[in-house]
Each structure stands twice: as structure tokens, then as C-alpha cells.
Amino acid sequence: MKTANYLVEITMLMPELTMMFMALILLLLDLVVKKKEVLAGVGISGILVAIYGTYKLFVFTEPQSAFADMFVLDGYSNFFKLIFYFNIILTMLISLKYMSIEKASFGEYYALLLFSTTGMMIMASASDLITLYLGLELMALSTYILAGLLRKQPRSNEAALKYFFLGAFSSAFLLYGISLTYGLTGTTNLKGIAAALQTLNILESPVVFLGLIFLIAAFAFKVALAPFHMWAPDVYEGAPTSVTAFMSVGPKAAGFAVMGRVLFEAFGGMHLQWNSILIPLAIITMAVGSISALAQTNIKRMLAYSSIAHAGYMLLGVIAGTPGGLASMVNYLMIYMFMNIGAFAIVIMLRREGFQGENLDDYTGLAKSHPLASALMLIFMFSLTGIPPTAGFIGKFYVFMEAINAGYTYLAVIAVVFSVISAFFYLRVVMNMYMKDPKEEVTLTTTSSLNLALAITTVMVILIGVFPSFLLNLVRTSILG
């Protein structure tokens, strides 16, 4: 038996290890430090160390695999880790005041965010179905707990339970798919599966296809594609708003990361087969997301349906089946992260002691009393709709372009139609703020950390919208090499 040089291999895992140690340190610090701001600050500085680690690991231009090919370090995983870092930092910034208003400002909250992000990073780097599954469970388990953190609120309990049961169900699907694939190919390694499918010549086998269906169903659950989206509106509404912001981006991005890697690396030769599932899924998802959002009165529910619709648009990048398509999907996720967390930051601002501020009516006439916050919300809503010169336009444009290049013009047309429909509910928020007179005085809860998060997201949304080349170049160099 060959002994691997673990000291060298463990450097590949430095960012994940940093995040994990940071989570453990926060758990201990929570016992002595009473101010939660300190915990968040320590957490963020730990994440910055992890970012530095990922930056240093960018030196490897060739994909590096470690731990008996269980873990891979490449541009694709590194870029996803960048999304996760931004996601958790912005979430920590927007949650400081909010969690104390909700009376749930536990130190474990920050530790669980870190654990969840560690799971996502492992998922993005998994080159074996076993690592993938364990990373997914680590991410999901932490998120279930985060969703149920507001123990006194029945809807938070409901969110956690619903998420847990349906998540466990989808894990069963994933394991079923893994076991079928393993039974046929004799390996769980993604590259090994691709090789076995070729050498055994079973690309056409219905059993392999069945395994693939199970895997796609499990991933579709994690990224909330219709018809596996039933949990999303209830969970997003019931969970604490900062957690909703976190999980509308993080688990979705991680789900897309594993979906892209498994489909492209292991089942690359079955592009036609997986497209026969993904294309209907994408169309249903865009339709359900855009049309159901029209009927919502709660802004968190509306953003939940909007996130379902966005998952549909991102799926076009996977359907294209080209490295360019994958790059456009990753690019979209990065942009979506900024605009979505920005929108949630505004939603959090409206929450104050004794006032939920989650109804669309609460935004009536907001522009009169709070012009700046309304202007920011306007930018995020425009960006989510995909109106130039915001980042959302660049994301959609790139994905649709890649879909058309790959010969899926009709899908791009359908996606544009649904984007137009979605403009209705995004712009309704804007109309509520600008065209109506305020009914009651709304005071905003602002803190410097929340302002910082808003500043970062706004600047990025506009910067990417006006000068998209720096992000597009980064995406292209990381994924296309």
C-alpha cells in the first residue's frame, strides 16, 4: 500500500481547514466573549485568511488532486469558493443587528455559517461521489439548524422541519443514484465513472440513465428547480431573513457546482440524455418561478420564487453543455449573489422591534421618507430583472448567448419571455416605493456593518454592469483555463 504524502496534500485543503478551525474557535470564544460583533469580526478575519489561502493556491494552473483523488483543486472550484466567501462575509455583515432584534444572537450562528460554507467548499472541490455526499450533508445539516434558529416562532420551526424532511428525502435520492452508478461502473470517482462508462460501453444503458435521473433529482432539490421547489417558499419565508439571504445563494451555488462537475466530468458522454431531463426542468422552473411570484404579498416569498426562476436561467448554462456555458452559469451565480444579498439587506433594514416589514405594502411610499434605501432597492430590483446597465443584465446576457451558441435558441427565447414576465413583480416593488404616498412612517434599522454590506453589493452590481470585463476575464481564466 502506497503511503501518500499527507503534508503536501493537506496544503490543498488549507482554505477548508481554516474555515473549520475558525468555526471551532468561534464556538469556544462564544463562552468568554459576550459581544457578538467581536465574534463576527473574528469570523470575517478568519474568512479573509481562507481567501488568502485560496489566492495562494491559484498558483497551480493544472488541476491538483489530493487524498486518493477524493478532492480536486482547480479554477472551477476556486471560483466557486470565491462566491462562498463573499456570500458568508456579506451574510455576517447583514445579520449582526438583525439577529439581536430577533433575540437569537447566538455565537453558534456564526460557527454554523462557517461549517455550512466549509461543506459547500468541499462540495465544489469534490471529485468523488462520497466526498460530494458528505460535503452536501455538512452544508445541509448546518443550514437546517440555521433555518430553525428562531425557536419561538412557529414558522421558523416549520421551515427547519420542512427543509430537514425534504432534504433527507433528496439525500436518499442522491444515495440511490450513487449506488446505481457505483453498481454499474464499480467506482465512485467521477473520472473513473466516465472511463468505465466508455470502456464498458454502457452509455446507452437505461440503468445508468436511471442513476443519472436520481442524481439530477437530488441536485434539482438543492438548487430548487421545479418540480422539486415546493420547500423553497415556506423555508425562505420562515427562516431568519439573514439565513434566507445566505441559503438563497450558498446551497444553490454549491448545488450548481456539483451538478456541473458531475454532469460534465462523469456523464460528459451522455449530454443528450441529461439534456432530455434538464430542458423540461428549466422551462418548468422559469415558468413556476416567474408566474407564482406574481401572486405573492410577502417579499421573502416573492424573492424565494424569484430565486427559483433564476435557477432556471442558470440551468441554461449547464444545458448548453460547453465549457463556455459552464462559465456563464458560474458568472451568473456570482452576480446573483451580489444582487440577491443586496435586496435581502434592504428587507432586513425594514425589520425593527415589533415590526416585521416583510409585506410588499410596507414598501409603499418608501422613497419619500428614505430616498437612498429606495434607490438601492431600485438598483437591486432592476438588476434582478436584468435591465442594463446593472450586473443582472450581464449575467443573463452571457447565459443566453452561450445557450444560443450551443444551438438552444428556443430556450433563450423562452427565458427572455419569462424575464419580461418577472419584470412585473420586481418593478411592482419599485412602483410601490416611488409612485405611492406613504401610509405610515417606516423607520429603518441601519448599522455600519449593514451599510458596508449594502455599499459592497451596490458597487459590485453597478461595477459589473458597467465594466463586466474584469469579472468575465476572471471567470474565463478560471474555468476555460
Binding site: M70, E108, A111, D128, T131, L141, S142, I145, V207
Partner: protein, 171 residues
């Protein structure tokens, strides 16, 4: 039918029957007891596959630890109320039909397997010469070291979650 086939057929049929019994009993204690027998049968199937270590682990962990936990939880619940209520919701016939259709579908597809995967390095002979625990341990600490460590992290998060959700004092 050869002897192994008879053996497997017994286990397969009994396991399905026991699983149905587990989900249909109105009294949760009965469900748990049927599940205990189910776990023993699963262990038997492992033995049949030359995996003595897995069989022992199945009995010790599932039948020993997890079932006892189940019983503890059931003791904390109000059983009287549970027993008077209907076991299933209205849509159960649809679920049964969907399940049967899916089972037929699976049988049809699995019958189609024409090519078998290449055998791995751990045949019954190597297991016999090296010993089960040694083989499992070696693989766990070399090839599957990283997943093994991630699993420990998952368990840690579960503990933290239990403490946060159940024990944290709310002001």
C-alpha cells in the same frame, strides 16, 4: 433454485414484508420492534455477502444504539393520542399505486443490465486472508481518509445543532 438463491429470496421477501409492517403499524412501539427484526435480517444479508464486520456493526449500531434511541423518543411522546389517530393521510392509495408503478419500472430496467462492473480488489479470498476489520480500517485511513474526517465534522455539527435547538435558553 440453488441454495444461495433460496436464501436470498427468503431475506428479500421478509425484508420487504417487515418494512411494510414498520410503516403500517399504528402503535409506534410495534413499529420499532418490527424494525428490530428488519435490522437483524439486513445483517443476515451482509453475512451472506461475506461481510461479517458489516453484519456485526449493523447489529451493534442499528439494533443496539439507534433503536434504543427510537424507544427513548417514543417514551417521551404521547402514545395514547398517536394510537387513536389514522396511520395515513387521505392520499395513501395514490402513494401505493405510485410505489408499485415505480417498482415495476425498476424491475424492468434492472433486468436490462447486460454488462457487469469489473470486480474490485476486495474479493472474498483477500478478505479471508487479511481479515475484515483490518481491511476496512486500512481503507478507511488511506483511501477514504478525507471522507472519514468530513463525516466527523458532520457529527460535530449535529451535536451543536442539538444543543442550539434544544438547550439554548431563550430570554
Amino acid at each position: 433454485m440453488s441454495m444461495p438463491q433460496v436464501f436470498f429470496a427468503y431475506f428479500a421477501v421478509t425484508m420487504v414484508t417487515l418494512s411494510v409492517l414498520v410503516v403500517t403499524r399504528r402503535n409506534p412501539v410495534h413499529s420499532v420492534l418490527w424494525m428490530l427484526i428488519l435490522f437483524v435480517h439486513i445483517a443476515g444479508l451482509y453475512l451472506f455477502l461475506n461481510a461479517e464486520f458489516l453484519a456485526a456493526v449493523q447489529i451493534i449500531i442499528y439494533a443496539g444504539a439507534i433503536l434504543v434511541l427510537f424507544l427513548f423518543v417514543i417514551m417521551l411522546l404521547n402514545l395514547r393520542k398517536e394510537e387513536t389517530e389514522k396511520r395515513f393521510q387521505k392520499q395513501w392509495p395514490f402513494s401505493v399505486v405510485a410505489g408499485i408503478v415505480f417498482a415495476i419500472f425498476l424491475v424492468l430496467i434492472v433486468k436490462n443490465i447486460a454488462v457487469l462492473a469489473p470486480l474490485g480488489p476486495y474479493t472474498a479470498e483477500t478478505m479471508k486472508s487479511e481479515g475484515h476489520m483490518m481491511t476496512v480500517g486500512t481503507v478507511l485511513y488511506t483511501e477514504f481518509l478525507l471522507p472519514f474526517e468530513i463525516a466527523s465534522l458532520v457529527l460535530l455539527v449535529a451535536i451543536i445543532g442539538a444543543v442550539v435547538l434544544a438547550k439554548k435558553r431563550i430570554e
